[in-house]
Amino acid sequence: MRQAFTIIKGNLRKNKGSYISVAILMFVVSFSLVGVLSIMLNTSGRDKELIEKAGFGHIFTAIKAVKVADYDAFCDEIVAGLESCDDVERVDKVPSVFMDIVDLNGQSSSNSVMVLDYKSEYVHYNIYDEKDKLIEQPVINPGEISVPISFRTLFNCKIGDVITLVYDGKEYEYKIISYMEDPYMGSSLVGMKTVLMNEMDIVKIVEESESKHTTTVLSIFRKSSSTMNDVEFEAELNRKTSFSAYSWFALSRSQAYGYMTMLTDIFSGILIGFVAMLVVATLIVLSHNISNSIEHDYANIGILKAVGVSDGRLKNTIMLGYLIMAFIGALIGMIAAFPLIGIVNKLIRPAIGIVVDNTPQLVMGGLSLLAIFVVLALFIRLKLGKVSRITPVMAIRDNKKDVHFSSIFKLPISKKCLGFSLAYRQFITGKKQYVSAIIVNAILVMFMAMISNMCMWFGNGGENLEKMFSLVNYDIRVYANTNEQLQDIDSIIKEHTEAERLMFGSRYVLMNDIQIWCGVIDSPDRINNVYEGRTCLYDNEVLITEYVAENFGIGIGDSVEIKLGNHSEEFIVSGFYQLSNDLGKNITITEGGFKKLVDEYKVNAYCYILEDTSVIGDIAASISAKYDEAEAGVSEYDAFDGMDVIIMAINGIAVLVYVIAAVFVMVTVIMVCSKLFSKEKRDYGIFKSIGYTSARLRRQFALRFVFVAVFGAVVGIILTLIFSDLVIGSIFEMFGMANFTASLHISAAVLPILFMSLIYYVSAYTVSRKIKKVTPRVLIVE
């Protein structure tokens, strides 16, 4: 034991730089892994816990304000029908009103807000102050409102701001006094939001409305003895009752959970992938390091063997040295991740809408790190196989000299580019030294190029992302009460510019007894992203997403049953398209197809693609001059509310990846350089003796690493071209986009190359400061 300890101590002293580098690499891996795992698991755990605690049923659905004599009695009838189902435990009736946001900090939203009484006996939300401190006994007075945390990002709002909501054409203003944590619909990715008010305000809204009643939201609970999952449960209810015919949205717990954790899942997925790459890169650097150390310590190993240290003991002690340092790095990384979790949670809180715990996931993180350590230990042991081949005599007699072989890539030394050609020669003749740095760079560049490509593909304004969330692209949408008014608006628009009119709407229907978002369009050739089969041209055809195909077990040419109210029709799947609505759980049919599902078909909105979009303001002015808002109006294309959040998050991830990659490269360069430097010390002396300055030698040294960066980057870009669509596609599948293809943007390829070349150059130049200390005296034998 003492012998092993002495050897380890000696190794640590001698190869200090290498061991410290191993510790730093493991620090980066552990820091990223524990941080990402904690954020991901805490978010999902917190959301599950909140959904349970808040009192949401397994299905949450709102009953439409249908024209019946007694809406409450009508709802009771639906509830009774639901409660008669075997798997239903109970159904809570939650009174609410659904309002629209007209103004909050100058913004409006096309999505409704569900207004609930803050003292509701059915659902309970946590309420926080502006510092995200939980208010134990919150009070919301009349005229006040508590809004979701995500409003801070979506509407840039703060405590004290005034929100204007509209109900039945009447506007109401409320002062924002707190933030609420909504585990069901609180994420920026969910369109509809919940707000909390005083019961008196809700009563007032209802009394001033035409219908004079609240909208009933049903919270349907499944029996604990039921073996059904949420999808089966919903299908069962749809088969046995007609509740879906009267519900205008239905959200299951699993769907809500999916929406709420989607952002963290996607970005954690990306980062865990990145960490996996870092582990591979660590192994490569380690491999290089071990080989070099063995070469460097050839004589010492021989001497130790000569004095009776066995092969196994030598290997174990060397391995233990590396593992001790890796453990120290991982431990410090784990501890350093603690504050990171809090910082990231605070940053993402407005996006995910819930207050996530900052506790580090030590068990999961520890187990993951343990798995990495097992791989590390096996790998080191494998690499140390060479030690067995060293005999004491071989090692002690060893007098290795650098042997250089001619290379087909060799270029002559040129006077004009002397520094460049010398650096290139040093690189090409010693390429073995740089293999690990090249591979590491290839891996990192591949990831960086993919992330950059993803950012570019999203576009600055999220144009492509918008396409994922919209069935068709249009410039304006108009609505009117009558068909005559619509025809009139059509002619007003055409007075300003040439325009193509589209009818495009959506409804929830039942497909094979499951409620599903259904797009309806009169110009199916305008649908974005049909990638297999063809669009739905005829009124018995339906377009489906890959998600629907997989979950319903259907494909092109298959028949499905679509139900709406009392109507049921058979449709044939004509093709696959991509649309992220409801996480990909959606279909689209033609206007003709939809007409078959309703008794009375009425259009009250049209979309227009304008030839000249600069006249949008003029069109709006002309329409509002002729009609009041209750009759008709115009709205510009309304981007998905959470777009900015996603773009901000993906850009944030890109920055994080670049920063981690930079740290990783710096450590790699330090490791490679320390060995290289001792090998080349004599050469620096020679160059100095013939008149080279330290600065010139350092530039030449650093230039070699630019070659490393460029070679690695080229490999990385090739890998990106091969794997980009596959990797990013699997990430986008979580958004409901199953068929991602994006040609590599030139900037996405150039940016990582330039970035890595700069980092390699700067790191190598910094590390090469040792050259300053080398004098031609190293050449002199005393």
Binding site: K401, I413, R425, S689, I690, A695, P776, R777, I780, V781
Partner: protein, 253 residues
């Protein structure tokens, strides 16, 4: 009257070792003359190598100054020193110090290419002339590991003189060579000295010392004796050897 090219005044060099000051050079005064082949001899530890480093500004003296062509070079900044080394000084070392991944020709060309006043073509031409002169033209494209020690040292001499330095420093240039290669290298040094190249060589080999026309004996960091000889001529080597040996005996060699 010979022209002084390098002058050392009150040159001192001390090394601290465990708190103990070791004075290797002690107020040394020395002038080197243009066209001379000066040889410094002395017993081990006499300070001859230290003197060479101090004179060539490879190492800073503890005190005193060194002037090259009336310009003080002690205390020059690294950049200026580098320029001096590139243009005015040439170095040949005991071990063959060639850049291992450059061919012999490239090793010679690289310092030549640092001279901005010469075109690449001129540098190449001069390098080829030197290689022919040094009889290593056939090995010009070989790497240092692929040639003999003598060929490599000759290439090192070619590299040292490619920029036609004012002074060539040679530190035991034959110390690591066999007898045949030693003769070749010394002949080469004599040849270039005959062509006007000033040389300062440190050696403890009497046969090498015979090549000089001025011999300096160093002991305990001080010059103990000096001897002038006529230019080297192969015809009177024996007589020269006797002269030198007797002088060395007088110096307690």
């Amino acid at each position: 009257m010979k022209k002084v090219i390098l002058k050392a005044e009150k040159l001192c060099k001390s090394f601290a070792n465990d708190g103990y000051q070791n004075h290797v050079l002690d107020n040394l005064e020395l002038s080197l003359y243009e066209g001379d082949f000066t040889v410094i001899m002395g017993s081990s530890g006499s300070g001859k190598s230290t003197l060479l480093y101090s004179l060539s500004a490879m190492d800073a003296p503890t005190s005193g100054k060194v002037c090259y062509m009336d310009k003080e070079i002690t205390g020059l900044a690294e950049k200026e020193l580098a320029q001096f080394r590139a243009k005015e000084f040439g170095f040949v070392f005991q071990q063959v110090h060639l850049v291992s991944n450059l061919s012999l020709l490239e090793n010679v060309l690289v310092p030549g290419y640092t001279d901005k006043d010469k075109s690449a073509k001129e540098v190449k031409q001069r390098a080829m002339e030197l290689m022919v002169k040094m009889n290593i033209v056939d090995a010009k494209d070989r790497l240092p590991s692929q040639v003999s020690g003598g060929e490599a040292q000759r290439a090192a001499i070619a590299r040292a003189v490619i920029n036609e330095p004012g002074l060539l420093f040679a530190d035991e240039p034959t110390g690591a060579l066999n007898r045949k290669n030693t003769e070749e290298v010394l002949s080469l040094l004599s040849d270039i000295n005959n062509n006007g190249q000033s040389i300062l060589m440190v050696t403890h080999d009497v046969r090498a010392a015979l090549r000089g026309n001025r011999l300096i004996y160093l002991e305990d960091g001080k010059i103990c004796g000096e001897m002038e000889l006529p230019p080297y001529d192969e015809k009177n080597v024996k007589e020269r050897e006797i002269q030198v040996n007797s002088w060395l005996s007088a110096m307690h060699w």
